[in-house]
């Protein structure tokens, strides 16, 4: 282990990586296995899912039966440490005139937000890289699907993704021998599939980063790193040591048996095993340091235990602090060379901020009442989903792009509100009859959640708040937001589709009005775009490798560089981009270009 609690960092590293989530974790693993000396800086505490995850803890072992609180918004057992919609002492604000307050989810822990995410791992498709070419809106990527496809393969091999190929337009298939078999659907999911088909909505196995069987470490490692003996040796052992899912416990708590993907279960262990990675935790980055020529030389951070500034140096700096935090570091790294913030000659840092569109609708389904019990925990999330099925039909729709549908149809471990349905279905009963009613209605419901693509617009951005500092003395972000009709019309379509499926299933649902049914900005926790990649130095911050146009040895590697935010949850794409960038970065260093 090389968690440097004593702060005895090397005089200079090959690379410093700020952040330890999907982008930072992947970058650290690649560079460390590639023989570079790497320092990872994490703002939060060290975190070890193998020993800290409350796998089988029950609600009565928690305050308030594990109910969510402002300090633990996703519930007491959620993996998030020192975070949520607010981080103590680290505020953010809304700019006057914003249509909606922005909600910014952060965590302060090794592995970042990968410790609690939904593990939904969908490849972006060919259309997703050229959206402007197709509909004239937003921005094209400077790469195509074919450029990233090999890195999707590799990322899927190392993380372990279950699912199937469905052969649909813009839903790329995965080459043979990579996907793990999907778990069977639950009864509510089967019922939804049957009835959604009548409306032309296809339901297929979802892709999630959960091991449905053990990985063959040696075979996968040999396929991934044919010319790197060290990487093969480490990964063969590490991948084989991850257990398969045992169909219990919520993924959001983390996974002590490492069956699901977290940066801390998949990427950081092999990176540390290489001996080439040092990590300092509880270190809040203040700014990127520059020399007189405009080259990045290191990082200035606040050592949280002592509340004092410290510096570390490296040949290359990688910011993987999360979309908004990366933009914040850039905007706070001001100098005479970069008075508007580092790498911001285009003025695009903080602009083009996007989140996924979210909207949901649930209902009671009589056919699911009084179901004989069986294990519906399954893999901890949806086993099926509806990929976007309306490509090429946009002349009949009043919005661009599209969404996928996730299903909530499982008799989960009971929580405080699990039986609220009885308030309407059986309002006056008590006694033995109430227990019968509880058995009848428990889990006899379904919910649909859409995850859609928004179009970047000039009203959605983040910038420094000129009047507020966090507890470390760092200027905080403020946000401005406004939905366009593109988003509201798409959410209207989601609601009508969900209600249609529910009614086909024998339930009763009415679409909710889009303006109230749309999730709040930031609430889906899929922020992207605040420092987008592009083809030109004029209107983008980085090239397709996340290398900033302005500072050659500064790379961004998280959601911030995405020019668009397709409906396919972005984590696996961040990792595929990081893998691709790491190869470029190492090649450029070898060639002496950076």
């Amino acid at each position: 282990m090389a968690i440097l609690t004593d702060r005895k960092t090397l005089p200079e590293y090959d690379a410093i990586i700020v952040g330890s989530g999907a982008g930072g974790g992947m970058m650290a693993m690649q560079l460390a296995l590639g023989g570079m000396k790497v320092l990872m800086i994490e703002a939060g505490r060290n975190y070890e899912p193998t020993t800290e995850t409350p796998m089988f803890n029950t609600p009565e072992q928690a305050p308030l039966r594990g109910q969510s609180t402002p300090e633990k918004p996703f519930g007491y057992y959620d993996a998030t440490v020192d975070g949520g919609w607010q981080v103590p002492g680290e505020p953010y604000s809304d700019k006057a005139g914003t249509q909606h307050p922005f909600k910014w989810w952060r965590s302060r822990m090794l592995g970042g937000r990968t410790n609690h995410w939904g593990r939904i791992s969908l490849r972006f498709g060919p259309h997703d890289f050229k959206p402007k070419t197709r509909d004239g809106l937003g921005y094209d990527w400077p790469i195509s699907y074919e450029d990233l496809a090999p890195y999707y393969d590799k990322t899927q091999l190392i993380t372990g993704i279950f699912g199937t190929n469905v052969g649909m337009e813009n839903i790329p298939d995965t080459p043979a021998g990579i996907l793990l078999p999907p778990p069977k659907p639950r009864v509510g999911e089967m019922l939804a599939k049957k009835h959604a088909a009548k409306l032309g909505v296809p339901i297929h196995p979802i892709h999630r980063a959960v091991l449905t069987e053990r990985l063959d470490g040696p075979a996968r490692a040999a396929r991934l790193f044919p010319n790197n003996a060290l990487a093969q040796k480490i990964l063969a052992k590490d991948m084989s040591s991850r257990a398969a899912c045992f169909w219990a416990t919520e993924c959001g708590r983390g996974c002590s048996i490492r069956a699901n993907f977290q940066s801390t279960t998949v990427l950081i262990p092999p990176a540390l095993a290489s001996g080439n990675l040092h990590i300092i935790t509880d270190a809040m980055v203040r700014e990127v340091m520059l020399d007189a020529s405009g080259k990045a030389t290191g990082i200035r951070y606040i050592d949280k235990p002592t509340r004092s500034d410290a510096e570390v140096k490296a040949k290359v700096i990688v910011l993987s602090a999360s979309t908004c935090e990366t933009a914040r570091i850039l905007l706070n790294s001001k100098s005479t060379l970069f008075p508007n913030g580092l790498a911001n000659s285009s003025g695009q840092v903080g602009k083009n901020l996007m989140d996924s569109l979210g909207s949901d609708l649930g209902a009671h389904i009589p056919a699911l009442e009084s179901m004989p019990p069986y294990n519906e925990d399954g893999s901890g999330g949806s086993h099926v989903y509806a990929p976007w099925w309306n490509h090429g039909k946009h002349d009949k729709l009043n919005f661009p792009r599209g969404y996928h549908i996730e299903l909530g149809a499982t008799r989960n471990m009971p929580v405080m509100h699990s039986l609220n349905i009885l308030d309407s279905k059986s309002p006056s009963t008590y006694g033995k009859k109430l227990m019968d009613e509880a058995r009848r209605y428990y889990g006899a419901s379904i919910s649909f959640a859409g995850r859609g693509e928004m179009i970047p617009n000039e009203h959605c951005y983040t910038e420094l708040d000129p009047n507020r500092l966090d507890q470390w003395g760092i200027p905080v972000l403020r946000f401005h937001w406004k939905w366009s009709d593109h988003e509201l019309n798409q959410v209207k379509h989601m609601q009508e589709t969900f209600a249609g499926i529910i009614n086909e299933m024998g339930g009763s649902a009415t679409p909710r009005p889009a303006a109230e049914a749309i999730n709040k900005p930031g609430e889906i926790i899929h922020e992207a775009g605040a420092a987008r990649m592009g083809a030109s130095t004029k209107d983008s911050v980085t090239n397709s490798f996340g290398q900033t146009w302005d500072v050659k040895n500064l790379f961004l590697m998280d959601g911030s560089i995405l020019p668009s935010n397709p409906n396919k949850n972005l984590t696996i794409t961040i990792m595929a981009l990081a893998w691709r960038s790491s190869e470029y970065l190492m090649q450029e260093m070898k060639s002496g270009n950076i």
Binding site: T58, V81, G83, V187, A367, S418, S428
Partner: protein, 209 residues
């Protein structure tokens, strides 16, 4: 951060219980105290259940609540009565919490307990818990909503609804009730996920799916 609503007395208790953590303090103050503390409300120690607030109900109120919970959910061969698994004590924890929803529930539950005894006192000259079981169920029948609620019993109906909802929540979130409810998860299973039993597939006509 949620504005904190704990009482001054609670603050002193919290300071004693979680001085290192700054748990539940107003956010600015908490932020100053919290640097690397673990085991606080943002970073709980899952091995140590810590309830950093007062439970407001006194013994007499708890005794009435215990009777009420057992009337609402009596338990059966597969599941213990609420009184056997501390549901009333949990409700006391719930309504003691300083968050807005819990405070709203506190108003209804505590007020309702007071209303109930006043009501039974005027009817029978006794507190609710001292009544015969048939008298107790008659009271519940009058406020549960099965029949039209006269204005004089409106407070009782609000109380019943809230109490029933919280009792259902507190009861079925206790793992000892899961078998009775039909939740059979939270148990590791080897091999592939077993999926839906054949009898259910047949019942719903899902053979083709």
């Amino acid at each position: 951060m949620q504005p904190t609503l704990v009482s001054r007395r609670d603050i002193f208790k919290l300071l004693a219980a979680a001085s290192a953590a700054g748990a539940m303090l107003p956010p600015d103050l908490a932020a100053q105290q919290k640097v690397l503390a673990r085991g606080d409300v943002w970073d709980p120690d899952f091995l140590k259940k810590n309830i950093p607030w007062e439970k407001p109900l006194v013994d007499a109120e708890l005794a009435t609540l215990t009777v009420l919970c057992d009337l609402i959910i009596p338990g059966d061969a597969d599941a213990p009565a609420p009184s056997k698994i501390g549901v009333a004590d949990f409700l006391n924890e719930w309504i003691g919490a300083p968050y807005p929803d819990n405070l709203a529930d506190r108003e209804i539950i505590r007020g309702g307990l007071g209303w109930l005894d006043t009501h039974t006192g005027s009817l029978h000259g006794k507190s609710f818990r001292e009544l015969e079981p048939t008298q107790q169920t008659a009271i519940l029948d009058s406020i549960c909503g099965a029949t039209e609620i006269p204005p004089a019993l409106a407070y009782g109906h609000v109380f019943f609804r809230k109490l029933r909802s919280l009792t259902l929540g507190g009861y079925y979130t206790h793992s000892s009730t899961w078998k009775s409810l039909g939740y059979v998860g939270n148990l590791p299973t080897g091999g592939p996920y077993p999926g839906v039993p054949e009898e259910i597939i047949k019942r719903l006509g899902l053979e083709e799916s």
